[in-house]
Symmetry: C2
């Protein structure tokens, strides 16, 4: 080590952390400066910073958090999501009244809902014969005669607007390792669809067909198959270019391979079997809702472990982004939803885009989707960027997660597992936010998807979550 006196005699070399203006001043004086891009954790909130420090390794509270996280990670890795049934939502979601409409993301009031979600709610009310037309539907909502709830409050998830109404068929996924169930609606396909807020006659007609034909057919097939192992399909698909959020081509094909022979072997009318097969084969995103329910089933098993700093939900309602953390149970930590950086379909631009929306970020919460982009280099043609960037996203996520999932191994990373178990402590400490790849909905109801891209949650959600967990741990 040099004596301090050297400081005044040797040429000055400075490393500047944070505010670049200091570095610029020194550079102006001819000094050699290295600028380090750094911001204090948690926006510089000293009270939270101290709490975070105690939650980390080297403090008895940190030990307690670490022990809780071991349990949470074990639950995530042990998850065995199996598709076991298709049922009407009202029959399997306890407490769902005939006037309840579920939606994506954290709670949101009718008056605050984003365009696509309002459209989807109107469509669901007409579909349920609660309203005859748009006007009636709006009036019912304005008068508070419809009950709204996040899907997540019913162990369910839905992409985009995420609207699930009582008579819609839902996938039933059982986590065989933990015994819990999770649910999702069925994927309608691209273009005009309820999840983008469309509710024209064609959309409603398809919803009725899904209720009357698709749902019962899939129910028959999965019962004949005695359940379908979604963990196995996901693991295979991750070696086939899918990340199982925005790319589900392989997973859909693998699911189809199981469902088709079962349907043909059933007593369902042959024309109905053909309709169903053509519908599934015609939609490369069909597996998305299975993927989401599988992730939800795994994450719910890791929820409500006292002291755990693992994120169990990330979800967006088009207005707010919300997360939940295992150690604080059902509490939501919310902040305004971000806008998505990405590629727009021809004729559309950022001006057309709704903010980040949908429950599909449950895939990233479980460690696939954006976290597994290294598995899906071809997806950059859809969400933007380069194949190298896809690998970098996955590597970056190793920095904020508790472990790697050996069941979901990524060939391009030498069969390393996906980054699993987002730790709010590491997010807050490093400033690295989870990466989510996602579709972009048009801000007006009913137009549909206008692009796809990459988005990060607001940092504020994690600061709140640190505060919430610190409270539980009596650190504040």
């Amino acid at each position: 080590m040099s004596p301090v006196s050297d400081l005044t005699t040797a040429p000055l070399r400075v490393a500047n952390l944070g505010l670049p203006s200091f570095a610029e001043d020194l550079r102006g004086l001819g000094t050699d400066v290295v600028q380090v891009d750094w911001t204090p954790p948690l926006g510089g909130d000293a009270r939270l910073g101290w709490a975070l420090a105690r939650m980390l390794d080297g403090d008895p509270v940190g030990d307690r958090v670490a022990a809780a996280n071991v349990q949470a990670l074990e639950r995530l890795l042990a998850a065995q999501p199996t598709w076991v049934d298709v049922r009407a939502a009202r029959d399997v979601l306890p407490g769902l009244t005939s006037r309840t409409i579920l939606h994506s993301g954290p709670p949101v009031a009718w008056k605050d809902m984003a365009g696509p979600m309002r459209g989807a709610v109107i469509g669901a009310l007409i579909f349920e014969d609660i309203a005859d037309d748009e006007e009636t539907a709006r009036r019912l909502c304005d008068r508070g005669e419809v009950e709204f709830s996040p899907c997540h409050h019913f162990d369910a998830v839905g992409p985009m607007a995420g609207v699930i109404s009582p008579s819609m068929p839902v996938l039933v996924v059982r986590n065989e390792a933990h015994g819990n169930l999770a649910f999702s609606n069925l994927n309608e396909g691209l273009g005009k669809a309820l999840r983008f807020g469309a509710y024209g006659p064609d959309v409603l007609e398809r919803l009725r067909w899904m209720r009357d034909v698709l749902g019962p057919s899939l129910q028959e097939s999965v019962r004949r198959l005695g359940g379908v192992d979604l963990k196995a399909i996901t693991a295979q698909a991750l070696q086939m270019g899918d990340e199982c959020h925005n790319r589900n081509l392989a997973a859909t094909s693998l699911l189809f391979r199981q469902v088709a022979p079962a349907l043909v072997g059933s007593d369902l009318p042959r024309s109905q079997v053909q309709q169903v097969l053509e519908f599934v084969a015609g939609n490369n995103h069909f597996f998305l809702n299975f993927s989401m329910a599988a992730c939800k089933a795994g994450l719910d098993a890791a929820a409500s472990i006292p002291g755990s700093s693992v994120v169990t939900v990330m979800a967006r309602n088009g207005v707010e982004f919300g997360i939940r953390v295992s150690g604080t149970g059902d509490r939501w930590y919310t902040a305004p939803a971000e806008r998505i950086q990405g590629l727009f379909f021809p004729g559309y631009s950022d001006a057309d885009a709704a903010p980040d929306i949908g429950d599909s970020a449950i895939t990233e919460t479980f460690g696939i989707g954006g976290f597994a982009m290294a598995a899906a280099p071809a997806i950059v043609q859809f969400v933007g960027g380069t194949p190298d960037a896809a690998v970098r996203y996955t590597r970056e996520m190793y920095g904020i997660t508790l472990g790697r999932n050996p069941a979901y191994s990524l060939p391009t990373l030498n069969f390393s597992g996906t980054a699993t178990g987002i730790d709010i402590r590491r997010v807050a400490d490093t400033g690295t936010l989870p990466v989510i790849n996602t579709g972009i909905a048009h801000k007006e109801p009913g137009i549909g998807q206008v692009g796809a891209g990459v988005v990060r949650p607001p940092a504020a959600c994690f600061a709140q979550a640190i505060e919430g967990l610190a409270g539980e741990l009596n650190l504040l």
Copy 2:
């Protein structure tokens, strides 16, 4: 540049090409030596070396070869292989007598055939009711009462033993860009199978079922579909972890997605449809034979272009490896088949392995399979090596090919196309041999596959081909 006198005064630094013993001697004297791994092209045959030099750029003969190769590459890139039909071999292979048995690789006499091929021939003769049992079959062959021919002489290809007999159903693939047809048998699945030389009752029973049920069903489905675009399936599969030789999981699934609704929509009995769907869904290699016929259809369009140095066939019969070159038409250049470096299934070792066998190297000849291993990092778990090595194989093949196929783009190489159009000049000049990944058959008939690995053709095939083409070009 230093004056020559420096050689005697400056410290000596030596680059040694070829024989390492010179370098070792110098190193022993304390001299700084760089050893360059180099062998003279074409085994040092000066006559062929001069001919090769004249075939390369900078010579009018080289210009002529280059012009022919432009045409050959155009034909390869333009290929549009479409599966159009399934027919009995005898009905679509002109000149096939009722006593002709086709086999893989270059020509081979009965007495010289490898174990698996002999077994497959016996099985085919029983299947065709030409022989009642093994003994009769052997006797007929010994007496020369069976006519043998390579599949390639009938524009056909078959994996492993590659045995096609007159009543077997064959895939008919039309190259829509060029109008030519190519053919392959249907894949029987893993385990005991005719292509590995098995001919027990179960194998023959399945062959009869394939003739009577599977073939007609696939015929019905492809006719209803009005043809299936194999180029599109291959292109997608290359972005889904397949290289379409030893890994066909994605391609089989994508094919299945098209075939299943067509079968259900047909008038075929429902139980038959179910049988066929279960058979196809149960065999992840089912697409291999489609892939082979598609490659054959593309390569045949580039065959017999005067002056072209492009390889149009690489095939093995279990005894010899043979290649054909566009500029010398139907001539075979053969040398003893190599042994395969790879991974063996539990209980087997190199001692059990047959030498390299089968027409499936037609996939590498077209630029997929081993040439596209960068697309299929997961395959290293099957053939050995690391994901990095998979990428290196593909990059290495760029060095011996004429171009890249933009239709078959590889995400991990930034969407660069597969290496296409093996040029015997570049193989001979660089000493880099084509890489083939392949299954390993047991050397005894009927046991089946015992492993998989990577193999290169014998260099002698390419030296002979240079000599053949040089003759055509009046260089010798």
